[in-house]
């Protein structure tokens, strides 16, 4: 059972890691935030799996903290976006890959 749970944790981590390609590609910062959010949920799942697999108590409390503050990144994101609208909508022209494709929005 332990091996299965550890394997599942590695699988979930690897999967959401693939999602981090979105952080690289963008094109908009909202997409990057989405990838970070997915990593957040996947990280909580991997953490719970790891905690049960290795028998470390109190891991569910760490997961609880992460879930409690999971929305904070996005809250900061949208409040920051409201402050300077150009930062949130699209990247500055400096972004290499963002300029190549046109923005979907």
């Amino acid at each position: 059972m332990t091996a299965f749970l550890l394997g599942a944790a590695a699988f979930v981590l690897g999967t959401v890691a693939l999602g981090l390609v979105r952080i690289l590609r963008g094109p908009s910062n909202v997409d990057r935030m989405l990838a970070a959010q997915l990593l957040g949920t996947g990280g909580v799942a991997a953490l719970l799996l790891l905690g049960v697999a290795t028998g470390v108590g109190a891991v569910s409390e760490v997961g609880l903290l992460l879930a409690l503050l999971a929305a904070f990144g996005s809250v900061a994101f949208v409040t920051g976006a409201g402050r300077s609208s150009d930062a949130a909508a699209t990247d500055s022209a400096a972004d290499t890959q963002g300029t190549a494709r046109s923005d979907p929005e």
Binding site: F11, V44, L48, S60, E105
Partner: protein, 118 residues
């Protein structure tokens, strides 16, 4: 009995992992930001939910159960809110054109209004 519970764990955790995979594929393959947001919520709600469900038989104390379920409920709450917030952030500006700050209470039907602002 223990075998059945283990089997239940394996099935539920595997299903949850598949939902994480689906969410990632959607995040990578869907064409625009709003559809990607939709993919994300599947991983948030079902992926984590199934993993939590699968882990329940492996934790003994009722306190552990409460903790695990609380994690999932909190993730549901923040996932739903984050979906709304990010969707508002990508809303095209032309949707907002006929809205002045003074007319803010008249929001489109897809945005729940928290008008009781004290």
């Amino acid at each position: 009995m223990s075998l059945a519970l283990d089997l239940f764990t394996i099935v539920a955790v595997t299903l949850g992992a598949i939902f994480f995979l689906a969410g990632t594929v959607g995040l990578l393959r869907f064409p625009d930001t709003l559809t990607r947001l939709h993919a994300l919520t599947k991983a948030d709600n079902l992926g984590l939910g199934l993993v939590v469900l699968g882990l329940l038989p492996q934790t003994t104390a009722p306190l552990g159960w409460i903790g695990l379920i609380a994690v999932w409920l909190l993730a549901l709450l923040s996932g739903a809110t984050v979906g709304q917030l990010l969707a508002e952030a990508v809303r095209p500006p032309e949707w907002d054109q006929n809205r002045t700050p003074d007319a803010l209470p008249n929001v489109p039907p897809n945005a729940p209004e928290a008008s009781s602002h004290d």
